[in-house]
Amino acid sequence: MPEQPEVSIRNLSKSFDGIEVLRDVDLEVKSGEVVSILGSSGSGKSTLLRCINWLETPDRGEIRINGERIGLQDKTQKPMSRRELAKVRTQLGMVFQSFNLWPHLNVLRNVTEALIYVQGLKKSDAVERAMAFLHKVGMAEKAASYPATLSGGQKQRVAIARALAMQPKVMLFDEPTSALDPELVGEVLSVMKDLSSEGYTMIIVTHEMDFARNVSDQVVFLEKGIIIEKSAPEIFFHSPRSERVRRFLELDKVV
Protein backbone atom coordinates (compact mmCIF):
# COMPACT_ATOMS: atom_id res chain seq x y z
CA MET A 1 0.00 0.00 0.00
CA PRO A 2 1.48 3.34 -1.00
CA GLU A 3 1.93 5.97 1.67
CA GLN A 4 -1.13 8.19 1.99
CA PRO A 5 -0.46 11.81 0.94
CA GLU A 6 -0.93 14.44 3.64
CA VAL A 7 -2.58 16.82 1.20
CA SER A 8 -4.17 15.60 -1.98
CA ILE A 9 -5.77 17.91 -4.51
CA ARG A 10 -7.67 16.44 -7.41
CA ASN A 11 -9.16 18.22 -10.37
CA LEU A 12 -9.49 21.55 -8.63
CA SER A 13 -11.15 24.36 -10.63
CA LYS A 14 -12.28 27.78 -9.59
CA SER A 15 -13.52 30.79 -11.50
CA PHE A 16 -14.32 34.38 -10.55
CA ASP A 17 -16.96 36.20 -12.56
CA GLY A 18 -16.79 33.60 -15.26
CA ILE A 19 -13.00 33.76 -15.61
CA GLU A 20 -11.25 30.54 -14.72
CA VAL A 21 -8.52 31.24 -12.19
CA LEU A 22 -7.66 27.61 -11.43
CA ARG A 23 -8.14 24.79 -13.91
CA ASP A 24 -7.95 21.10 -13.11
CA VAL A 25 -5.18 21.43 -10.59
CA ASP A 26 -3.79 18.13 -9.24
CA LEU A 27 -1.26 18.06 -6.45
CA GLU A 28 -0.12 15.54 -3.88
CA VAL A 29 1.97 16.53 -0.91
CA LYS A 30 3.46 13.81 1.25
CA SER A 31 3.88 14.07 4.97
CA GLY A 32 6.88 16.20 5.89
CA GLU A 33 7.27 17.46 2.35
CA VAL A 34 7.82 21.12 1.49
CA VAL A 35 6.21 22.32 -1.73
CA SER A 36 6.94 25.72 -3.26
CA ILE A 37 4.46 27.29 -5.59
CA LEU A 38 5.85 29.73 -8.13
CA GLY A 39 4.11 31.68 -10.82
CA SER A 40 3.60 35.17 -12.04
CA SER A 41 1.30 37.64 -10.38
CA GLY A 42 -2.37 36.81 -10.83
CA SER A 43 -1.64 33.23 -11.86
CA GLY A 44 -3.83 31.87 -9.05
CA LYS A 45 -1.31 30.98 -6.36
CA SER A 46 -3.13 32.65 -3.51
CA THR A 47 -6.42 31.28 -4.75
CA LEU A 48 -5.02 27.76 -4.76
CA LEU A 49 -3.80 28.14 -1.19
CA ARG A 50 -7.13 29.58 -0.10
CA CYS A 51 -9.00 26.72 -1.70
CA ILE A 52 -6.93 24.21 0.25
CA ASN A 53 -8.43 25.35 3.52
CA TRP A 54 -11.75 26.15 1.89
CA LEU A 55 -11.60 29.92 2.45
CA GLU A 56 -12.49 29.96 -1.22
CA THR A 57 -15.08 27.41 -2.34
CA PRO A 58 -13.83 25.62 -5.47
CA ASP A 59 -16.22 25.06 -8.33
CA ARG A 60 -15.09 21.51 -8.87
CA GLY A 61 -12.55 19.12 -7.45
CA GLU A 62 -11.67 17.33 -4.28
CA ILE A 63 -9.25 18.18 -1.50
CA ARG A 64 -8.19 15.80 1.23
CA ILE A 65 -6.12 16.49 4.29
CA ASN A 66 -4.69 13.27 5.66
CA GLY A 67 -7.26 11.37 3.70
CA GLU A 68 -10.05 13.40 5.24
CA ARG A 69 -12.20 15.33 2.82
CA ILE A 70 -12.46 19.10 3.38
CA GLY A 71 -15.43 21.22 2.41
CA LEU A 72 -17.80 18.53 1.27
CA GLN A 73 -19.17 15.53 3.10
CA ASP A 74 -17.49 12.47 1.66
CA LYS A 75 -20.60 10.39 1.29
CA THR A 76 -23.32 12.85 0.47
CA GLN A 77 -21.27 15.49 -1.37
CA LYS A 78 -23.15 18.05 0.68
CA PRO A 79 -21.29 21.06 2.12
CA MET A 80 -19.81 20.49 5.56
CA SER A 81 -21.22 22.35 8.51
CA ARG A 82 -19.02 25.14 9.77
CA ARG A 83 -18.25 23.19 12.89
CA GLU A 84 -16.96 20.26 10.85
CA LEU A 85 -14.96 22.63 8.65
CA ALA A 86 -13.42 24.29 11.69
CA LYS A 87 -12.34 20.88 12.91
CA VAL A 88 -10.58 19.95 9.68
CA ARG A 89 -8.99 23.39 9.55
CA THR A 90 -7.26 22.97 12.90
CA GLN A 91 -4.89 20.69 10.97
CA LEU A 92 -4.01 23.58 8.65
CA GLY A 93 -2.14 26.73 9.58
CA MET A 94 -2.06 29.73 7.28
CA VAL A 95 0.02 32.88 6.91
CA PHE A 96 -1.64 35.47 4.72
CA GLN A 97 -0.09 37.68 2.09
CA SER A 98 -1.62 40.71 3.84
CA PHE A 99 -0.89 39.54 7.40
CA ASN A 100 -4.46 40.08 8.64
CA LEU A 101 -3.55 40.76 12.23
CA TRP A 102 -6.38 41.65 14.56
CA PRO A 103 -5.96 45.33 15.33
CA HIS A 104 -7.75 45.37 18.68
CA LEU A 105 -5.41 42.81 20.23
CA ASN A 106 -1.78 43.35 21.04
CA VAL A 107 0.95 41.21 19.54
CA LEU A 108 0.92 38.66 22.34
CA ARG A 109 -2.83 38.29 22.31
CA ASN A 110 -2.89 37.99 18.53
CA VAL A 111 -0.89 34.82 19.08
CA THR A 112 -2.57 33.50 22.21
CA GLU A 113 -6.16 34.13 21.13
CA ALA A 114 -6.57 30.95 19.11
CA LEU A 115 -4.44 28.94 21.51
CA ILE A 116 -6.86 29.77 24.30
CA TYR A 117 -10.18 29.88 22.48
CA VAL A 118 -9.63 27.19 19.87
CA GLN A 119 -7.12 24.79 21.36
CA GLY A 120 -8.35 25.44 24.90
CA LEU A 121 -4.92 25.98 26.44
CA LYS A 122 -4.64 27.49 29.89
CA LYS A 123 -3.79 31.16 29.67
CA SER A 124 -0.36 30.78 31.20
CA ASP A 125 0.54 27.90 28.86
CA ALA A 126 -0.70 29.89 25.89
CA VAL A 127 1.42 32.87 26.85
CA GLU A 128 4.44 30.68 27.32
CA ARG A 129 4.06 29.03 23.95
CA ALA A 130 3.29 32.35 22.26
CA MET A 131 6.37 33.99 23.73
CA ALA A 132 8.50 31.11 22.53
CA PHE A 133 7.35 31.63 18.95
CA LEU A 134 7.58 35.41 19.20
CA HIS A 135 11.18 34.89 20.28
CA LYS A 136 11.81 32.73 17.27
CA VAL A 137 10.71 35.54 14.94
CA GLY A 138 12.42 38.24 17.01
CA MET A 139 9.22 39.94 18.14
CA ALA A 140 9.26 39.13 21.85
CA GLU A 141 10.02 42.66 22.93
CA LYS A 142 7.06 43.98 20.91
CA ALA A 143 4.65 41.61 22.67
CA ALA A 144 2.65 44.46 24.17
CA SER A 145 2.49 46.62 21.03
CA TYR A 146 -0.59 46.91 18.87
CA PRO A 147 -0.49 46.00 15.17
CA ALA A 148 -1.05 49.60 14.08
CA THR A 149 2.36 50.55 15.48
CA LEU A 150 4.34 47.79 13.77
CA SER A 151 6.46 48.03 10.65
CA GLY A 152 5.56 45.86 7.66
CA GLY A 153 8.15 43.24 8.45
CA GLN A 154 7.17 43.19 12.08
CA LYS A 155 3.55 42.53 11.19
CA GLN A 156 4.58 39.70 8.94
CA ARG A 157 6.65 38.13 11.67
CA VAL A 158 3.76 38.28 14.12
CA ALA A 159 1.51 36.68 11.51
CA ILE A 160 4.04 33.89 11.11
CA ALA A 161 4.33 33.38 14.85
CA ARG A 162 0.57 33.30 15.14
CA ALA A 163 0.23 30.52 12.58
CA LEU A 164 3.21 28.53 13.86
CA ALA A 165 2.02 28.65 17.44
CA MET A 166 -1.01 26.59 16.51
CA GLN A 167 1.37 23.74 15.56
CA PRO A 168 -0.82 22.42 12.76
CA LYS A 169 0.08 19.38 10.64
CA VAL A 170 0.19 21.37 7.42
CA MET A 171 1.31 24.97 7.06
CA LEU A 172 0.20 27.16 4.18
CA PHE A 173 2.37 30.22 3.59
CA ASP A 174 1.38 32.98 1.17
CA GLU A 175 4.60 34.88 0.46
CA PRO A 176 5.73 34.69 4.06
CA THR A 177 8.96 36.54 3.56
CA SER A 178 8.04 39.21 1.05
CA ALA A 179 8.40 42.03 3.56
CA LEU A 180 11.37 40.61 5.39
CA ASP A 181 15.00 41.59 5.11
CA PRO A 182 17.57 38.92 4.26
CA GLU A 183 18.50 38.38 7.89
CA LEU A 184 14.96 37.65 8.85
CA VAL A 185 14.32 35.58 5.79
CA GLY A 186 17.14 33.44 7.05
CA GLU A 187 15.67 33.22 10.51
CA VAL A 188 12.16 32.47 9.36
CA LEU A 189 13.57 29.93 7.01
CA SER A 190 15.39 28.16 9.77
CA VAL A 191 12.20 28.10 11.79
CA MET A 192 10.46 26.56 8.81
CA LYS A 193 13.24 24.05 8.32
CA ASP A 194 12.88 23.05 11.96
CA LEU A 195 9.21 22.58 11.36
CA SER A 196 9.77 20.41 8.35
CA SER A 197 12.21 18.24 10.27
CA GLU A 198 9.62 18.00 13.04
CA GLY A 199 7.38 16.41 10.44
CA TYR A 200 5.35 19.47 9.38
CA THR A 201 4.13 19.56 5.85
CA MET A 202 4.36 22.92 4.13
CA ILE A 203 2.99 24.56 1.04
CA ILE A 204 4.64 27.88 0.32
CA VAL A 205 3.79 30.50 -2.25
CA THR A 206 6.89 32.52 -2.86
CA HIS A 207 8.73 34.72 -5.29
CA GLU A 208 12.14 33.97 -3.87
CA MET A 209 13.89 31.49 -6.09
CA ASP A 210 16.74 30.79 -3.69
CA PHE A 211 14.28 30.08 -1.01
CA ALA A 212 12.38 27.66 -3.21
CA ARG A 213 15.59 26.01 -4.36
CA ASN A 214 17.00 25.47 -0.89
CA VAL A 215 13.96 24.42 1.06
CA SER A 216 11.54 22.56 -1.18
CA ASP A 217 11.15 18.92 -2.04
CA GLN A 218 8.85 19.83 -4.91
CA VAL A 219 8.45 22.99 -6.95
CA VAL A 220 5.18 23.78 -8.71
CA PHE A 221 4.78 26.40 -11.40
CA LEU A 222 1.34 27.90 -12.00
CA GLU A 223 0.46 29.78 -15.16
CA LYS A 224 -3.04 31.13 -15.70
CA GLY A 225 -4.44 28.61 -13.26
CA ILE A 226 -2.78 25.57 -14.78
CA ILE A 227 0.16 23.65 -13.31
CA ILE A 228 2.65 23.62 -16.13
CA GLU A 229 5.62 22.27 -14.22
CA LYS A 230 5.89 20.14 -11.10
CA SER A 231 9.27 18.70 -10.24
CA ALA A 232 12.09 18.40 -7.74
CA PRO A 233 14.02 21.65 -7.33
CA GLU A 234 17.20 20.26 -8.93
CA ILE A 235 15.27 19.51 -12.09
CA PHE A 236 13.07 22.62 -11.91
CA PHE A 237 15.94 25.03 -11.65
CA HIS A 238 18.43 23.29 -13.93
CA SER A 239 16.51 21.57 -16.65
CA PRO A 240 12.88 22.59 -16.61
CA ARG A 241 10.72 20.79 -19.12
CA SER A 242 8.76 23.87 -20.16
CA GLU A 243 9.94 26.82 -22.15
CA ARG A 244 7.77 29.12 -20.02
CA VAL A 245 9.57 28.21 -16.82
CA ARG A 246 12.93 28.63 -18.48
CA ARG A 247 11.98 32.17 -19.46
CA PHE A 248 10.71 32.87 -15.97
CA LEU A 249 13.96 31.71 -14.40
CA GLU A 250 16.09 33.61 -16.86
CA LEU A 251 14.41 36.85 -15.99
CA ASP A 252 15.23 36.24 -12.38
CA LYS A 253 18.93 36.09 -13.21
CA VAL A 254 18.84 39.31 -15.18
CA VAL A 255 17.64 41.25 -12.10
Binding site: G93, M94, F96, W102, H104, A114
Partner: protein, 221 residues
Protein backbone atom coordinates in the same frame (compact mmCIF):
# COMPACT_ATOMS: atom_id res chain seq x y z
CA UNK B 1 -42.94 79.94 48.08
CA UNK B 2 -40.82 80.52 45.02
CA UNK B 3 -40.93 78.00 42.22
CA UNK B 4 -37.49 76.67 43.14
CA UNK B 5 -38.56 76.19 46.72
CA UNK B 6 -41.54 74.17 45.57
CA UNK B 7 -39.24 71.96 43.53
CA UNK B 8 -36.87 71.56 46.44
CA UNK B 9 -39.76 70.57 48.65
CA UNK B 10 -40.68 67.88 46.14
CA UNK B 11 -37.14 66.58 45.72
CA UNK B 12 -38.22 63.12 46.84
CA UNK B 13 -40.45 62.84 43.80
CA UNK B 14 -37.51 63.74 41.59
CA UNK B 15 -35.11 61.37 43.26
CA UNK B 16 -37.53 58.54 42.93
CA UNK B 17 -38.13 59.38 39.28
CA UNK B 18 -34.40 59.64 38.69
CA UNK B 19 -33.83 56.28 40.36
CA UNK B 20 -36.51 54.67 38.21
CA UNK B 21 -35.14 56.22 35.03
CA UNK B 22 -31.63 55.08 35.86
CA UNK B 23 -32.74 51.54 36.64
CA UNK B 24 -34.87 51.14 33.53
CA UNK B 25 -32.17 52.70 31.41
CA UNK B 26 -29.36 50.49 32.67
CA UNK B 27 -31.34 47.28 32.36
CA UNK B 28 -32.62 48.13 28.88
CA UNK B 29 -29.25 49.39 27.66
CA UNK B 30 -27.45 46.18 28.60
CA UNK B 31 -30.19 43.91 27.33
CA UNK B 32 -30.72 45.73 24.06
CA UNK B 33 -27.00 45.74 23.31
CA UNK B 34 -26.94 42.00 23.90
CA UNK B 35 -30.01 41.56 21.73
CA UNK B 36 -28.46 43.69 18.99
CA UNK B 37 -25.29 41.59 19.02
CA UNK B 38 -27.30 38.40 18.99
CA UNK B 39 -29.39 39.63 16.06
CA UNK B 40 -26.27 40.52 14.10
CA UNK B 41 -24.71 37.17 14.85
CA UNK B 42 -27.85 35.33 13.82
CA UNK B 43 -27.94 37.25 10.57
CA UNK B 44 -24.38 36.26 9.71
CA UNK B 45 -25.87 33.21 8.15
CA UNK B 46 -25.67 30.27 10.52
CA UNK B 47 -29.20 29.63 9.29
CA UNK B 48 -29.82 31.51 6.09
CA UNK B 49 -33.53 31.07 6.56
CA UNK B 50 -33.37 33.26 9.66
CA UNK B 51 -31.88 36.15 7.78
CA UNK B 52 -34.98 37.49 6.08
CA UNK B 53 -37.30 37.37 9.09
CA UNK B 54 -34.65 39.09 11.20
CA UNK B 55 -34.12 41.73 8.56
CA UNK B 56 -37.86 42.34 8.52
CA UNK B 57 -37.98 42.53 12.31
CA UNK B 58 -35.17 45.08 12.39
CA UNK B 59 -36.67 47.26 9.70
CA UNK B 60 -40.10 47.02 11.27
CA UNK B 61 -38.72 48.22 14.59
CA UNK B 62 -36.98 51.11 12.86
CA UNK B 63 -40.21 52.09 11.16
CA UNK B 64 -42.54 51.71 14.13
CA UNK B 65 -42.91 54.63 16.55
CA UNK B 66 -41.79 53.50 19.99
CA UNK B 67 -44.85 54.91 21.64
CA UNK B 68 -47.09 52.67 19.60
CA UNK B 69 -45.00 49.64 20.49
CA UNK B 70 -45.16 50.44 24.20
CA UNK B 71 -48.85 51.21 23.87
CA UNK B 72 -49.59 47.91 22.17
CA UNK B 73 -47.62 45.93 24.75
CA UNK B 74 -49.31 47.52 27.69
CA UNK B 75 -52.82 48.33 26.51
CA UNK B 76 -53.16 46.04 23.52
CA UNK B 77 -51.85 42.71 24.76
CA UNK B 78 -54.33 42.36 27.64
CA UNK B 79 -57.05 41.91 25.04
CA UNK B 80 -55.34 38.70 23.92
CA UNK B 81 -54.82 37.62 27.50
CA UNK B 82 -51.21 38.69 28.02
CA UNK B 83 -50.90 41.02 30.95
CA UNK B 84 -47.59 42.59 31.89
CA UNK B 85 -46.78 45.11 34.55
CA UNK B 86 -45.86 48.55 33.32
CA UNK B 87 -42.18 47.84 34.02
CA UNK B 88 -42.17 44.54 32.21
CA UNK B 89 -43.94 46.00 29.20
CA UNK B 90 -41.71 49.08 29.23
CA UNK B 91 -38.41 47.26 29.47
CA UNK B 92 -39.46 44.64 26.93
CA UNK B 93 -40.50 47.33 24.45
CA UNK B 94 -37.27 49.28 24.98
CA UNK B 95 -35.14 46.17 24.56
CA UNK B 96 -36.81 44.92 21.38
CA UNK B 97 -36.91 48.37 19.85
CA UNK B 98 -33.38 49.50 20.63
CA UNK B 99 -32.00 46.00 20.17
CA UNK B 100 -33.02 46.30 16.52
CA UNK B 101 -31.25 49.65 16.27
CA UNK B 102 -28.10 48.29 17.89
CA UNK B 103 -28.16 45.44 15.41
CA UNK B 104 -28.37 47.90 12.52
CA UNK B 105 -25.53 50.02 13.88
CA UNK B 106 -23.30 46.99 14.32
CA UNK B 107 -24.24 45.64 10.92
CA UNK B 108 -23.35 48.93 9.29
CA UNK B 109 -19.86 48.69 10.71
CA UNK B 110 -19.64 44.94 10.14
CA UNK B 111 -19.82 45.24 6.37
CA UNK B 112 -16.76 47.48 6.30
CA UNK B 113 -14.63 45.20 8.45
CA UNK B 114 -11.84 43.71 6.35
CA UNK B 115 -12.65 40.16 5.43
CA UNK B 116 -8.99 39.25 5.86
CA UNK B 117 -9.25 39.35 9.63
CA UNK B 118 -12.21 37.06 9.57
CA UNK B 119 -10.38 34.69 7.25
CA UNK B 120 -7.40 34.68 9.56
CA UNK B 121 -9.68 33.63 12.37
CA UNK B 122 -11.43 30.97 10.31
CA UNK B 123 -8.12 29.61 9.14
CA UNK B 124 -7.09 29.25 12.75
CA UNK B 125 -10.12 27.10 13.43
CA UNK B 126 -12.19 29.59 15.40
CA UNK B 127 -15.80 28.58 15.71
CA UNK B 128 -18.30 31.18 14.53
CA UNK B 129 -19.50 32.25 17.97
CA UNK B 130 -15.99 32.48 19.40
CA UNK B 131 -14.78 34.45 16.41
CA UNK B 132 -17.75 36.78 16.67
CA UNK B 133 -17.24 37.34 20.36
CA UNK B 134 -13.46 37.67 20.43
CA UNK B 135 -12.48 39.08 17.06
CA UNK B 136 -15.44 40.85 15.50
CA UNK B 137 -17.60 42.30 18.26
CA UNK B 138 -14.80 44.09 20.16
CA UNK B 139 -13.75 45.84 16.97
CA UNK B 140 -17.31 46.79 16.10
CA UNK B 141 -17.76 48.28 19.55
CA UNK B 142 -14.58 50.32 19.19
CA UNK B 143 -15.56 51.47 15.73
CA UNK B 144 -19.17 52.36 16.48
CA UNK B 145 -18.59 53.97 19.85
CA UNK B 146 -19.68 57.43 18.68
CA UNK B 147 -22.92 56.18 17.21
CA UNK B 148 -23.52 53.94 20.22
CA UNK B 149 -23.33 57.10 22.31
CA UNK B 150 -26.13 58.58 20.20
CA UNK B 151 -28.20 55.47 20.55
CA UNK B 152 -27.78 55.23 24.31
CA UNK B 153 -28.84 58.83 24.73
CA UNK B 154 -31.90 58.21 22.58
CA UNK B 155 -32.64 55.14 24.65
CA UNK B 156 -32.32 57.27 27.76
CA UNK B 157 -34.80 59.77 26.42
CA UNK B 158 -37.15 57.05 25.20
CA UNK B 159 -37.57 55.90 28.79
CA UNK B 160 -39.60 59.09 29.13
CA UNK B 161 -42.27 57.66 26.83
CA UNK B 162 -43.01 55.09 29.49
CA UNK B 163 -45.00 57.73 31.37
CA UNK B 164 -47.82 56.85 29.07
CA UNK B 165 -47.86 53.34 30.47
CA UNK B 166 -47.75 54.62 34.06
CA UNK B 167 -44.06 54.13 34.80
CA UNK B 168 -43.27 56.95 37.21
CA UNK B 169 -39.87 57.95 35.92
CA UNK B 170 -38.15 61.31 35.74
CA UNK B 171 -40.29 62.95 33.07
CA UNK B 172 -43.43 61.74 34.79
CA UNK B 173 -42.23 63.37 37.98
CA UNK B 174 -41.61 66.64 36.19
CA UNK B 175 -44.89 66.50 34.30
CA UNK B 176 -46.91 66.00 37.39
CA UNK B 177 -45.06 68.65 39.38
CA UNK B 178 -45.31 71.15 36.60
CA UNK B 179 -48.97 70.58 36.00
CA UNK B 180 -49.80 70.53 39.68
CA UNK B 181 -47.91 73.65 40.59
CA UNK B 182 -47.68 75.11 37.14
CA UNK B 183 -43.92 75.65 37.07
CA UNK B 184 -43.07 74.18 33.66
CA UNK B 185 -39.78 75.89 32.99
CA UNK B 186 -38.15 75.18 36.33
CA UNK B 187 -39.32 71.59 36.44
CA UNK B 188 -37.97 70.91 32.98
CA UNK B 189 -34.68 72.60 33.68
CA UNK B 190 -34.24 70.18 36.55
CA UNK B 191 -35.15 67.25 34.31
CA UNK B 192 -32.77 68.31 31.59
CA UNK B 193 -30.13 68.63 34.29
CA UNK B 194 -30.70 65.04 35.33
CA UNK B 195 -30.73 63.71 31.77
CA UNK B 196 -27.66 65.71 30.98
CA UNK B 197 -25.87 64.26 33.97
CA UNK B 198 -26.55 60.74 32.76
CA UNK B 199 -25.52 61.56 29.21
CA UNK B 200 -22.33 63.24 30.41
CA UNK B 201 -21.51 60.03 32.22
CA UNK B 202 -22.23 58.12 29.00
CA UNK B 203 -20.03 60.48 27.02
CA UNK B 204 -17.28 59.87 29.53
CA UNK B 205 -17.61 56.14 28.96
CA UNK B 206 -17.52 56.64 25.20
CA UNK B 207 -14.41 58.76 25.55
CA UNK B 208 -12.81 55.98 27.54
CA UNK B 209 -13.55 53.57 24.68
CA UNK B 210 -12.04 56.19 22.40
CA UNK B 211 -8.78 56.10 24.31
CA UNK B 212 -8.71 52.32 24.10
CA UNK B 213 -9.33 52.64 20.38
CA UNK B 214 -6.69 55.28 19.90
CA UNK B 215 -3.96 53.07 21.29
CA UNK B 216 -4.95 50.42 18.78
CA UNK B 217 -5.07 52.70 15.79
CA UNK B 218 -8.87 52.95 15.58
CA UNK B 219 -8.94 56.72 15.54
CA UNK B 220 -7.70 58.16 12.31
CA UNK B 221 -9.22 61.55 11.80
Amino acid sequence: MSNWEILWASRDVFWQGFGNTLTIFSISAVLSFLLGSLLLFSMEGVRPRLKIPLRIFIDAMRMLPFLILAYLFYYGLPSVGIRMTAWQAGVLALVLYHGAYFAEILRGSRITLSSGQEEAAIAQGFSRPTMFLRIILPQLVLRTRGVMGNQLIILLKDTAFLVIITVRELTAAANSLSSTYFIPMEAFIVVIGFYWMISLALEQGIRFLGRIGEKRGFNNA
